[in-house]
Subunit: 416 residues, 2 copies
Amino acid sequence: MVCRVCGKRYPVSPINFCTDDFGPLEVDYHYEEVQKVLRREVIARRSWNMWRYRELLPLDGEPTVGHAVGGTPLLKAQRLGEALGVRHLWIKNDAVNFPTLSFKDRVVAVALSKAREFGMATVGCASTGNLANSVAAQAAAAGLETFILVPADLERTKILGTAVYGAKVIGLKGTYDEVNRVCTQIALKYGWGFVNVNLRPFYAEGSKTMGYEIAEELGWRFPQHVVCPMAGGALIGKIYKAFSELHQLGLVETPLTTRMYGAQASGCNPISECVKSGRERHKPIRKPNTICKSLAIGDPADGYFAARLIRQTGGWAEDVTDEEIVDGMLLLARTEGIFAETAGGVTVAVARKLIEQGRIPRDEDIVLCITGNGLKTQDAVFDAIETPAVIAPTLAAFEEYAGLRAPAPSTVPALV
Amino acid sequence: MVCRVCGKRYPVSPINFCTDDFGPLEVDYHYEEVQKVLRREVIARRSWNMWRYRELLPLDGEPTVGHAVGGTPLLKAQRLGEALGVRHLWIKNDAVNFPTLSFKDRVVAVALSKAREFGMATVGCASTGNLANSVAAQAAAAGLETFILVPADLERTKILGTAVYGAKVIGLKGTYDEVNRVCTQIALKYGWGFVNVNLRPFYAEGSKTMGYEIAEELGWRFPQHVVCPMAGGALIGKIYKAFSELHQLGLVETPLTTRMYGAQASGCNPISECVKSGRERHKPIRKPNTICKSLAIGDPADGYFAARLIRQTGGWAEDVTDEEIVDGMLLLARTEGIFAETAGGVTVAVARKLIEQGRIPRDEDIVLCITGNGLKTQDAVFDAIETPAVIAPTLAAFEEYAGLRAPAPSTVPALV
């Protein structure tokens, strides 16, 4: 493990920051060894899930948690592409990830497999959303004891998708910052595995598999443009790291010239504001105010690295209003049949904005990263959905409703 | 196409019943031709989704709808197996199916691809649940106009997962029987594709892919026991048909001796009652009364065939109360990290009952079919979920809550 700020090296252990400068630690690999093993034909013979790239994940042995995670579809989005006026649009759809329908299943599978390697029997996290769902589900499957810490004012409906797995959900009468601090204290004192605290370096590596899959699904090549939602700012960096590794290992032979684009909600846009203003470091947002709760991190841990990456690759960042988010969700659902959570609406709406601005060209390969499922944020679109028509239960009433009183035009001969 | 009652043959067209005896029509195949093409190594080279078995699906050309459907995980359920006291338990998990998280995505992908081959531009169904979600989503992706007919008294929250895709949802002031009759009239008069009416013979074939995948994921062999939820009764028959075809084609060489078990809710148990009572034909249930709405079909179209199959294979059927359904959902979530809809609770609870009755032995391969996602039926478990503890936002408060006032036992050395 290596400090991302000063480069100091550490042995593999459950720590997440450099003791010299508190910089974040990252996992390093022996790429020469990996290169000897990991060839395209080896990967092709393995099951279609995230572990087909296991040599590039930070486990000593075989994974013991989340065997079936990943392997989500990369879809050619013809109809959405037409709506946005672009020719080669793709959607990487983690809204159907196993087991809890978000890209967090990838990071949690790595974190909990690593927790087991460390001999931990108790795990947890501070989260109210996708992360909590995934930790609870995968820890249940692994037989690990689980504590999920949340602010005490959270609605009960929001914890159902976590508590259903038997995780102990505890409400703390304080802010999210306070909740996070208690998690860190527990992790340090008891050596429990908090996936986004002391397991964070391993956890974050799981995100890379989204990048490996995109490249493999494109036929071992890189897209020219990737639009990625940003909360803490880690995912966008890990997808790019995945591409870099594939290039370094010779698995993709073309040069890596992919431009990375970050998407945020205007109500919590520290990273996109940083990119757009030309600032080197983001300004924290004190009071996030957006329907997209899953991206509402005011002071993103990887904000600096995300903004730097976006600039270095020649990409850009944008943010969108709540109204644009809902429009983005509906556009995705109605052109591609994909019901994404609010973060998906952010990604689609930001992509539209960047295309209209001319920042993303219309004739190159564009991948949109959809990271979670709309069934988890149904409230966001509830008011935007049309009220059903109500008619009598007869064919005549339906014909009147549908304007079919004259014989309908049809290319199929009627059967009677 | 061939009548399942009299065997009369029909050319391929959008009809679903025999004009002589009104028996249901089923698709037939030229198995000698299929056998020449469809070998294990050919299948292995194809993408991991339902279309890898495309020669056994009733399309003339390539699929044009639902390219990424299927390919869901078959999981070794170690912890649930221990809880049920069996050694080799597997879960086929269609709760993460693409795009709408149920096995209906399989049948709809075939039905709508066939609708396009018939030149239909308008499709629909009568459904309030998984089927409506899937038709709306996949028709949106295909650019087909969609009408979803539902009883007018349906809550608005129930149609969100359908209307979000832009389908026209129409409430009919009548019973489900009346809604279905209007669908049939529209399909006949206008030649529109109603997936479970005039497209039914094609639609139903999509279910077979769940069976192909189970056998392939087991390493091209059959499980000894399959427990399958029953609504209309088609799925259980199609899984068995899939096994029969694999055997006939030589893709699985061992004899087919799988026993099929049907699972229903006690509040709507026409098929399980038929099996248990030894009756040849089921008695319709007038007023279904169960939390498991997705299985609550009082007069199942394939009830006769399902009951006959269960008897012929040496299986059995059972039904479970609402309380047992909730227990089954929680047991599955807490042992395997899978949040299934109420039908999944039915399947788990029935499996437990059949194991306790000694009807399913404890040392053979058992597959449970999980057909939909728990996020769609959250109300069912809401009251069964524990209320979170509420504490002060301090380490000391957490330690008191968790009984950790003495130093915690841990196999991992504390870091400070």
